[in-house]
Subunit: 143 residues, 2 copies
Amino acid sequence: MSDLCDFPQLLAGLGVKPTALRLAVLEVLGASSKALRAQEILEAIRSKRRVNKVTVYRILDGFTRRGILRRLAIEDRVSHYELACEHHPPHPHFQCHNCGQVQCLEPAPLERMWRDLKGPLGNRADRIDIRVEGVCHKCREIS
Amino acid sequence: MSDLCDFPQLLAGLGVKPTALRLAVLEVLGASSKALRAQEILEAIRSKRRVNKVTVYRILDGFTRRGILRRLAIEDRVSHYELACEHHPPHPHFQCHNCGQVQCLEPAPLERMWRDLKGPLGNRADRIDIRVEGVCHKCREIS
DNA sequence: AAATGAAAATCAACTTAGTTGCAAATATCA
DNA sequence: TGATATTTGCAACTAAGTTGATTTTCATTT
């Protein structure tokens, strides 16, 4: 997941001002090969400049709402974030029990999923979760 | 997900004492057709008797470690729990954007997943997550 | 029946990740 | 330039869960 995207242009296309902090968030994520926690993003930016955590949380939130980022509920009590641009289509993730890192796996077609997920990268897969999100039949009826 | 399991026996088989609270937790989950938050379990028990939240959290934690329950990291900042006994094999979940409820879907074979997930129950699937958990190659090398 | 000891439950205080409301700074437009 | 809107920062707060110490329960042993 290297940064192939032109972030200023990406933001411009959505009418979002490309402020220094917004670009910093995108660059940190673009430079990462794995999904990152808000905390990690915050620290990465702080290694270069001064930021308030609230600002970062708000940027992450805004980006997620606009579909610029995907928020992953992969681990209890912490969100992970990744770029959601055309170069980073949805894909399965692999979290290590031990170090907690969240690797991105190939967005292989679903039929090949099971086979693919168990083998590659030398990971030992103990558990595969499949999760669907949307609007349930009950809520669809109401609205 | 109705309770087909004999909880006292289940616990006995694992050498876990079937205390009133432990059974209460299992009964609440056994009676539910969906995965529940710790909060909901706590409230369900409190409608019948007095409990301290710490006790419930510790029971949920112990049960999860022993494989009696599965903890689902389905939503930011809250865990959901479900029975992990033989009558409740792993399966995909559906969370409603609107009400937040976490339905259990059929544990259909993975090759049929995609097709199956989109159609049934009248839910509108906006997003399908596939998540793998285990020990990554790096951590495997170290230990 | 009383004493003992281990397991279970409780309590208060704390932690972590994230949120709110408002003020200050910065950018944008007339 | 001044007026307005947007972004950032700060302090205080919240929700969910955790910790450590204490008390209760309860099955044994005396």
